[in-house]
Symmetry: C2
Subunit: 169 residues, 2 copies
């Protein structure tokens, strides 16, 4: 797919078809995350790939807004360091990795949706996270149940003229 089509076709998908994602495609999505830029190239992320149905169901319980994880073909848990890491930051770079994977997925016709984690203890248990990792964002993946991904003409966003300031705010 052309880049602009993938960027504009990417949308949050929360209802997935019962169809697995080929292993090679999952690896490509993960590779897109690995390649993301980060502050001083510190790469503060680890990715836990979950494809087991019972595990996905359990993982979906970490937050009410993560229900879509249960029926996803796969979910990538994007794991960051604890909040008191030496840099005192990580979320910005985790966001860069997440979006890189979402665009790589869209390029393959795969929908995605990110979700936060409210019950960190449960996430820690389901994913087997070490004690020094405190931040997790989930990225559910799957083929859309409704309609294939195609470029969205008018996304539900603030208008460009409102978002963009030229020269000065």
């Amino acid at each position: 797919m052309q880049t602009w089509d993938a960027i504009t076709a990417r949308r949050n998908v929360r209802a997935f078809a019962d169809r697995p994602i080929p292993a090679g495609d999952l690896d490509r999505i993960l590779e897109a995350g690995r390649r993301a830029p980060s502050s001083q190239n510190w790469q503060p992320w680890d990715f836990v790939l979950v494809t087991d149905r019972p595990q996905l169901a359990e993982l979906s319980q970490v937050f009410s807004g993560a229900y879509h994880v249960a029926q996803s073909a796969a979910t990538i848990a994007i794991v960051g360091p604890s909040a008191d890491n030496p840099f005192r930051r990580a979320q910005f770079d985790l966001g860069q990795a997440a979006l890189s994977m979402a665009i790589a997925a869209a390029d393959l016709g795969i929908g995605s949706c990110h979700a936060g984690v409210a019950d960190m203890a449960l996430a820690r248990r389901v994913l087997g996270l070490p004690a020094d990792r405190d931040w997790v964002i989930l990225l559910s993946l799957g083929y859309p149940a409704d309609r294939p991904l195609t470029p969205v003409r008018n996304p539900k966003r603030r208008p460009l003229d409102e978002v963009v300031h030229r020269g000065h705010w």
Copy 2:
């Protein structure tokens, strides 16, 4: 450009050719940022587009690592809400917007590099930011001075097998 080529060709570029970016291409990059996903679609970003050479030089003084802003063809200041915003978060979503713009730029052969801000007071003055905005990340843009963007075969990153955990950490 094909999506995978744009994702893999994107690299941090800090030395730019003395060549302006067409206005339509800048708008396309900004549009890619506007389309980024965010928590509950709150879109916590504003983008200040700077193309004036003296202003770019001044803006580059906000942090030692932002020197590349001075010679960029354009720099987009990605502005977020104050840290005590109701959500208590924004950086993850600003990261998503930044990477969306970086990939859209790479698709056009345009290099980019993000930089943090140490002197927020200076950034506030140069950009004319309102008092309730506290977070700024700069994304410098321009055609690479060295060589065109082409897919990077072996990026300087932790190996995929180290970053990816399958099933459990």
